[in-house]
Amino acid sequence: MASPPATSTTTTPTGPATTTGTSTKATRLLGAAAIVGIVWLAAFGLGFSPADANQRESVRILYVHVPSAWLAYLAFFVTAVASGIYLFSKKHSLGWDRLAGASAEVGVLFMGITLVVGALWGRLTWGVFWEWDARLTSTAFMFVTYVGYLTVRRLGGTHQQRARRSAVLALLAVLEIPLVHWSVKLWRSLHQEATVLRPDGDVKMNGLMLFTLFVGVIAFTLMYMWLVIHRQRTMAAEDALDDAGLDLAIADRKAERA
């Protein structure tokens, strides 16, 4: 029924574009800080920090694994809060929707990293890539849940439709994740005889190791902020471009009549 989009939507809208990109002084500073953080983390994680008595060298993987997991959880938390604010505030501001979307995307990235790196660490520590640990299993479910969320964001419709649909879905995920985690945990408690090394309970972290982990958290927080700010601005630009395209298409249609 719908005709194809008018071709002119792809032409440049009115008004000069003197700046391109989504960078500002603040984000450049933030990006530089993040890079410093990454180098710092690599130096401490791979170099200065000692091997663990139990886990030996493989403890070094935890300095990226644990922070990326934490930041992924934080990212999904931000998505939930932003979705809630979007849905329950009177203004229904799309800014909150885009923050939710950007944060979920970065969260999925970090969670994917967590799972892959966690499997590498598991291979060294447990001897297997995957262990049916409660936290691990529910993390995998969470990953798939947010992949689904991102898919739903791309379903189309007006910006407000997208925002409402995905905000509701994000809040449903908040309902779902504790349930999944709780049930998986109960399920695992049945099979306790297969004792699993608790991912971090077994490590005796000395001062330098704790400091390295701390560096990791800082580096990942900086990366998270930088990525979310840029992604969110890009989404805002995409939305604005859609609106500008619509103005042109309306003008086109009006001209059609004459």
């Binding site: 798939v144 689904g148 898919t151 649909r165 879905l169 449903l172 349930l179 999944v180 049930s183 109960l186």
Partner: protein, 236 residues
């Protein structure tokens, strides 16, 4: 409130009547579910060596396989119930007529619950027969409670996400992506509870009740979630 219930009942009866006339669940989904139970036996590859032998692995797995079969059937039932709605634009017409979305949710959930409950009972029956399970009758209260609670939870969550996927491009693949991660608690809880009820895993009947608790919490959560979220999700 009474208007919501009246319309919910109307929608449920309509869905059941559609099935009564078309027999799609009976003639297509049920045979599919039954054949998966047979395929599971192939996958486990432990059919008894001699006639009269009972394979203990299959017996142990039976509750889980029946739950899995139920979840797969749920996917098909959800696709079917929303295909009925979109075939001639009826879901659109329901929205255009301003029919209360909460009532539609409860009506479709109720109809799906009834169909899924019958389907899963037949599945479990199939498992008992073809895997050679000795049923212990003392667990029947636990079994029936689990059966009703689990199928209700699945019906509610299936209707909720089915409604979201119904209008979307690529709905056939979107639905499992959304639905399968969510149903994990039911799969886990129902499997353990049925195991305890039948005595296949060597667990006592009393051990099954906490698992019914898991399933019940899920059912309540998604009953409530669907009541609130179905409207915004189906509304384009």
């Amino acid at each position: 409130m009474t208007a919501t219930l009246r319309i919910a009942w109307l929608v449920a009866r309509k869905d059941l009547r559609v099935e009564w006339h078309s027999r799609v669940a009976l003639n297509q989904i049920l045979p599919f579910a039954a054949i998966t139970m047979v395929l599971f036996a192939f996958a486990v590859d432990r059919l008894p060596a001699a006639p009269g032998d009972v394979d203990t692995v299959l017996v142990q797995l039976a509750p889980g396989l029946a739950s899995l079969g139920t979840v797969f059937s749920l996917l098909l039932l959800v696709q079917r119930t929303f295909a009925v709605e979109s075939e001639d634009g009826a879901l659109d017409a329901l929205r255009a007529a301003g029919v209360d979305a909460t009532a539609v949710f409860w009506g479709k959930t109720l109809a799906m619950w009834i169909q899924l409950a019958i389907l899963s009972a037949l599945l479990l029956g199939t498992a008992v027969v073809i895997y050679g399970i000795e049923v212990r009758w003392s667990g029947v209260v636990l079994l029936v409670t689990t059966w009703l609670t689990a199928t209700f939870g699945l019906a509610a969550v299936g209707t909720l996400y089915g409604g979201l996927a119904a209008g979307a491009r690529g709905r056939e693949t979107l639905l499992p992506l959304l639905l399968l991660p969510v149903v994990a608690p039911v799969l886990i809880g129902a499997t353990r509870a049925v195991e305890a009820a039948l005595g296949t895993g060597g667990t006592a009947i009393a051990d099954g009740w906490p698992w019914v608790g898991v399933v019940a919490v899920f059912a309540v959560a998604f009953g409530a979630g669907g009541t609130l979220a179905f409207g915004p999700l189906i509304d384009e």
